[in-house]
Amino acid sequence: MAEDVKTPAPPPPPEGEKKPTAEKAIPPAQGAAVPSAAEKPPAPAAPKAPTAEKPGAPAAKPAAPAKPAGPVPMPWTSPMVEKYTSQYGSGLEAQTYLGQNYFSVDCSLIPDILRLLRDDDQFDYCVDITAVHYPKREKQFDVLWILYSFPRNERIRVKTQIADGASIPSSVSIWATANWLEREVYDMFGITFDGHPDLKRILLPDGWKGHPLRKDYGILQQDQEWVQINLGIESGQ
């Protein structure tokens, strides 16, 4: 539990050294294969540094140089991909990592591509919609759709980046299951979906302030005001 308490506090000085080493270690692996992929990996590494725990730190340094041996994202080619790249060009990038294929798509193309994937390429089952927060990045959020096609027995991911405060078109009209999944993304990250029939919190209470899966939301943080008013106790801790 001692580790938890530290998390919301500002990063201790030794972590500062860790960040550059982590960043240096990654680009050789990623950058070699796909130049554009190099933009992304430093971002996940950087925000992690402040939250990294001390017990992990000694082991982290010697292990870092060994990492480039790991697999790297490779370009993904298939007739389907060619169709999309010829249609959308630079707004779309297809890659594969550990045998899993994904599209990185410009935010403006999202509604078109999702609809085409369902209508033309039979991705009839939307497995999941989720997001990842990278606070140090200009466009802070990755929003992901995990799709599956029953006829093709194939799974792909579509991901896009959006800025904090920006909204994204809802896909409820494409897959009805998106309703609750988008509500959960809104609840946890504060990302709004345009055209959602009923965008409100789903797991947290309606009056709650804050979005807990953002990286700046500490693990012990909570809406004290809500707890005091609604539960009649001083603190939920």
């Binding site: 580790e3 938890d4 998390t7 982590a22 990654i26 692996a29 990623q30 990996p41 996940p44 590494a45 925000p47 992690k48 939250t51 990294a52 725990e53 992990g56 082991a59 982290a60 292990a63 870092a64 990492k67 790991g70 697999p71 994202p73 990592y97 550990l98 899993q100 994904y102 009839d124 089952y125 497995v127 999941d128 989720t130 990842v132 927060h133 992901l144 995990i146 029953f150 027995n153 991911r157 409820v172 009209s173 897959w175 009805a176 299951t177 309703n179 609750w180 999944l181 959960e184 946890m188 029939p197 919190r201 789903i202 797991l203 947290l204 209470p205 807990p212 899966l213 939301y217 693990i219």
Partner: protein
């Protein structure tokens, strides 16, 4: 419908502001692509009634609150209010190492903890690019399938109890005990087992494990017949489950419903066959499907699934290879930078883990794709036009675990 209507119907004691916030707006249910239709004519009274079912209700299997919009006893629409068990599992994951998070996954779907652990361990193994040894895979399959039986037993007992048949509860809990004893002897825990580790299994099977599993199979085969004798042709059971909570295959797919609920609607899809994981490719088994997508078909599908699980266990326990049980996993688990999605066929449907690694010892993000959460969304279209008593049957047939819905 106005506030006055509500108070005139004896609900004035309710906090008006809360009632107002949770009031059902008909437009909310306009999901035109689902071909939902509301009953044209009220048949008892022209006034609609809104009542709360739960969160403290014995038939909601935990703390699920369903707001029912009724016309007399006919359900016009529902809204689920969930989150009472929200513990922030995904946030906890970001503050734990990969190994430390492993026991937490057991606490989501706590009646199928072994499946949760299998999905998580395999997802991290994929990210690390290591594979569990063959012996570990077989042990995993045996325990996971035992757990599937245990989960279906608990579902059957509670579901039948909700509908009014009390005996199956005692039968299933009596027999489930035998599975829990095997778990207890294997890893010391009965419910939240933490049976597997990243890279394989922590424990070698105990002396007599195989014999005990085989004994269970011979013990259990007649027990399923016993359950079926109680229910399958029981007049009351048929009346309460046939054509109740029907969901078409198209609606089920659009709503992302998976597991036995999807299969009962006639979609022959099971991740153990479609994208085999662990050692499932080695075994011979059938995927049962239903025709009508009603509560009775879902009952039949799960009954057959228990028998198929026994087939898998039998093959696995007879063919269990010798060898190590732990793969080559570093002491400090630090997966390379990357993302992975891995899913398994849990007793309730597709259970997926999406893991983002930033190269450190802690996951940058773990997203759990919970089958119960997604399946619960189908409750609304399944109960429209039914009676209140059927809502209880449909909640039971969806086989949700609130620990997983809320995470």
């Amino acid at each position: 419908m106005t506030e006055n209507d509500v108070s005139s119907r004896g609900l004035s004691g309710l906090d008006q502001s809360r009632l107002d916030r949770s009031r059902l707006d008909q437009s909310r249910f306009d999901q035109s692509n689902l071909d939902l239709e509301t009953p044209e004519k009220p048949y008892l009274d022209s006034n609609e009634l809104i009542i709360n079912m739960g969160p403290q209700h014995p038939a909601t299997h935990g703390v699920l609150r369903v707001i029912l919009k009724l016309d007399g006893e006919k359900v016009l629409g529902t809204e689920c209010v969930i989150g009472y068990l929200h513990r922030g599992v995904e946030k906890i994951a970001e503050n734990r190492t990969y190994a430390m998070f492993n026991p937490y996954v057991d606490r989501m779907d706590y009646v199928a903890a072994v499946s949760n652990g299998l999905g998580y361990c395999e997802a991290v193994e994929k990210l690390l690019n290591v594979e569990a040894p063959a012996r570990a895979k077989y042990i995993r399959v045996i325990l996971t399938e035992l757990n599937r039986i245990a989960s279906h037993q608990l579902w059957l007992g509670t579901h039948a109890l909700d509908i009014g048949a009390m005996t199956p509860l005692f039968y299933t809990f009596r027999d489930r005990e035998e599975i829990l004893k095997i778990f207890e002897r294997y890893c010391g825990a009965r419910l939240t087992t933490h049976a597997f580790r990243i890279g394989g299994c922590q424990y070698e099977t105990y002396a007599g494990f195989e014999k005990e599993v085989k004994n269970f199979l011979t013990f259990f085969a007649p027990k399923i017949d016993e359950y079926e004798a109680l229910l399958t042709t029981n007049r009351i059971w048929l009346e309460r489950t046939k054509n109740v909570g029907v969901i078409s295959a198209a609606d089920a797919i659009a709503l992302g419903v998976t597991g036995p609920v999807l299969r009962a609607s006639g979609v022959k899809w099971d991740l153990r066959k479609a994208q085999p994981y662990a050692a499932y490719a080695d075994f011979d088994f059938e995927i049962p499907i239903g025709e009508n997508g009603d509560t009775y078909d879902r009952y039949l599908v799960r009954m057959v699934e228990m028998r198929q699980s026994m087939r898998i266990i039998e093959q696995a326990v007879n063919g269990i290879p010798e060898g190590p049980i732990m793969g080559k996993v570093p002491k400090v688990i630090k997966p390379p930078v990357g993302e992975i999605y891995h899913s398994i066929e849990a007793p309730k449907g597709e259970l997926g883990y999406f893991i983002v690694s930033d190269g450190s010892t802690q996951p940058y993000r773990i997203r759990v794709r919970p089958p119960s959460f997604v399946n619960l969304q189908a409750l609304d279209i399944m109960v429209r036009g039914l009676l209140v008593a059927d809502v209880v049957a449909v909640i039971g047939t969806l086989d949700i675990v609130l620990g997983e819905v809320d995470r």
